[in-house]
Symmetry: C2
Subunit: 329 residues, 2 copies
DNA sequence: TATCGCATTTCGCGGTACGAAATGGATAAG
DNA sequence: CTTATCCATTTCGTACCGCGAAATGCGATA
């Protein structure tokens, strides 16, 4: 119960990083040099750290975790759980109370967390979880087929690209695509999203497209677009969308599939490759099949991660079972 | 969007505390002396603190909050959001990464939170949220009717009492009931729980009761108990359960109602009073009606708090809208 | 190649967090 | 009522740790 970290998913320092600088056939990294966020080399492992972790912070978080586990926590109980000295525990609880994460009250006889702790978690659902589920499989896929993989989520009337393996692909056509926002109508990921999202969501988005002056989305285009989406849906579960061939870069093409949980499309995954490098009759075996396998792996990971989230029905655990005495009456 | 703290609920330092040591007709508190968790006096306001808050911790939490808001955060973006010096931001991110709350990766170009942040939140659903929703209304009710109020949740085959206003009731019969576990079958809160919980849950619990050797729960008792529960349910929404008169203390009685969200019973609320002090024909007006109002207030609060939790359907927000450029193709 | 932006690191000072020991509030037992 | 005991909280002086201005240097862009 404690080990929510799914090892197969969390592989940030294992296979995934091996894929980053281990893989000599892709890119001969020298010694694990520094990792910088603004680098696009695909590095991820910090190597040595310049700063030692701030102890006070680690302790505070450990205490906050303990209060979460205990539900209603006394100083002694936290001490038993953490082995931190009591003055430290009180100092930290006082700090957490000052910022409103924890409340104390002898009307319930202890400390408890407040709804403000949600602000420490809120951002996880969404792209963070999707990257967590996608990172390792996407890197593995790039190692295998060599072409760069992208992951994007819906953002207004476009797809926002939030993850890209171009750094470890030998044939990436550009330095980065992170943060780019390909259009819903013409991009592969946008089409994959629109084809597989729930009907009511699709209608809502189409209505937005109709009223958006930037789109030039007339009735004829809408009809054609709906036909395109219907064709995609009927392609079955291994259906994939293709980028409008009239969009740049024209010497490449992009295929995309939705990443789903239950009936929702959480994100889309894409592969881009030079048309000339993959003969039409090989696309199915060289691109679509591996992509489909990867999609499936990611969706399994997503399902696992969604369990831990409380995003779906059955939350509200009982209090941890009582050492408490049975009542007299 | 930022102010998730519902002021009417969060009233820990306002009306609720006023109810604690403000109310002179209940208890003449002298100067707001110290608050200690193990006191049962009902105090809650810290007065002066001996420790100043630990700055490092506040900063780390501020940064973690910022990363949550940004979804994918660069150092500069965090700096813009928090105005903390960049070395501090990096030091804290490094600390958060060391403990696994945050991950960095230039494959997505920034820092993001990981699923481990859930451990900082997990404990909120359940008793913490229920107390948050109940505290102020329960205290107000005690001020009004003078009798002590209790809140309990299901814990195995008993109710675990997690909140009690005896400290501010002039007529509390005992020093504390916190942590006591009155039985499901005989207690008012247990009966209220069983009467209004979903059918499948009730059947599951009854099955447990049948097989529990401690319970002596034979078929005849079960039949009678089911009849009791059915009668309670048919009492309508202001239906309340009564403690088995054969249980201690016999000179008192206890009435209880469920605290529900959608079709689930999250907890139960009770009032205890001396039988001799409230004539039978006054119980409805003096006890049941005020209790029912309080119940309704608490359930409204619970509904509000559940919204913020992601416990029900529609989570997964889109990424915060893009300053990002539109894609070329 | 040169230039720039920005993530990261250095380093020495100053204050702040540490925790053993003391305090005293509160309950439980007699 | 008094005493014993438990435990949350506070004191206080020292050691150390976090602070942040300034320096560094990687990577991107032209």
């Amino acid at each position: 119960m404690e080990g929510l970290s799914h090892p197969a998913i969390m592989a940030h320092s294992d296979e995934a990083n091996a894929a980053c600088f281990g893989a000599p056939e892709l890119r001969e990294e020298k010694s694990p040099t520094r990792c910088r966020t603004n680098s696009r080399r695909g590095l991820s492992d910090p190597g040595r750290r310049s700063y030692p972790p701030v102890e006070a912070v680690r302790r505070a978080l450990e205490i906050l975790r303990a209060v979460n586990r205990l539900r209603i926590a006394s100083v002694t109980a936290i001490h038993a759980a953490t082995h931190l000295p009591k003055p430290t525990i009180i100092r930290m609880l006082e700090t957490l109370m000052a910022d409103g994460y924890v409340a104390r009250d002898n009307m319930f006889g202890g400390y408890r967390v407040t709804c403000k702790v949600h602000e420490l978690t809120k951002g996880y659902d969404g792209i963070s979880m999707i990257i967590e589920a996608s990172r390792a499989p996407a890197i593995e896929l790039t190692r295998r087929i060599k072409w760069p993989i992208g992951i994007g989520v819906l953002d207004g009337l476009a797809i926002s690209i939030q993850f890209w393996t171009g750094a470890i692909s030998p044939w990436a056509h550009t330095s980065t695509v992170l943060g780019l926002r390909p259009a819903l109508l013409s991009s592969a990921m946008g089409r994959a999203y629109m084809a597989f999202c729930p009907d009511d969501e699709r209608e809502k988005i189409l209505a937005c497209l109709r009223t958006d002056p930037l789109q030039d989305f007339d009735l004829e285009k809408e009809t054609k677009f709906r036909q395109l989406l219907a064709r995609l849906r009927n392609g079955g579960s291994c259906g994939f969308a293709v980028r409008d061939p009239r969009t740049e870069p024209k010497q490449m093409t992009t295929l995309a599939m939705p990443l789903m949980f239950e009936d929702r499309v959480l994100a889309a995954i894409s592969v881009s490759f030079y048309k000339s490098a993959v003969p039409l009759q090989n696309i199915s075996k060289q691109i679509v099949a591996p992509l489909s396998e990867t999609r499936q792996k990611i969706e399994e990971n997503l399902a696992l991660l969604m369990r831990g989230t409380g995003i779906h029905g059955d939350a509200i655990e009982p209090v941890p079972h009582g050492l408490a005495p049975l009542a007299p009456g």
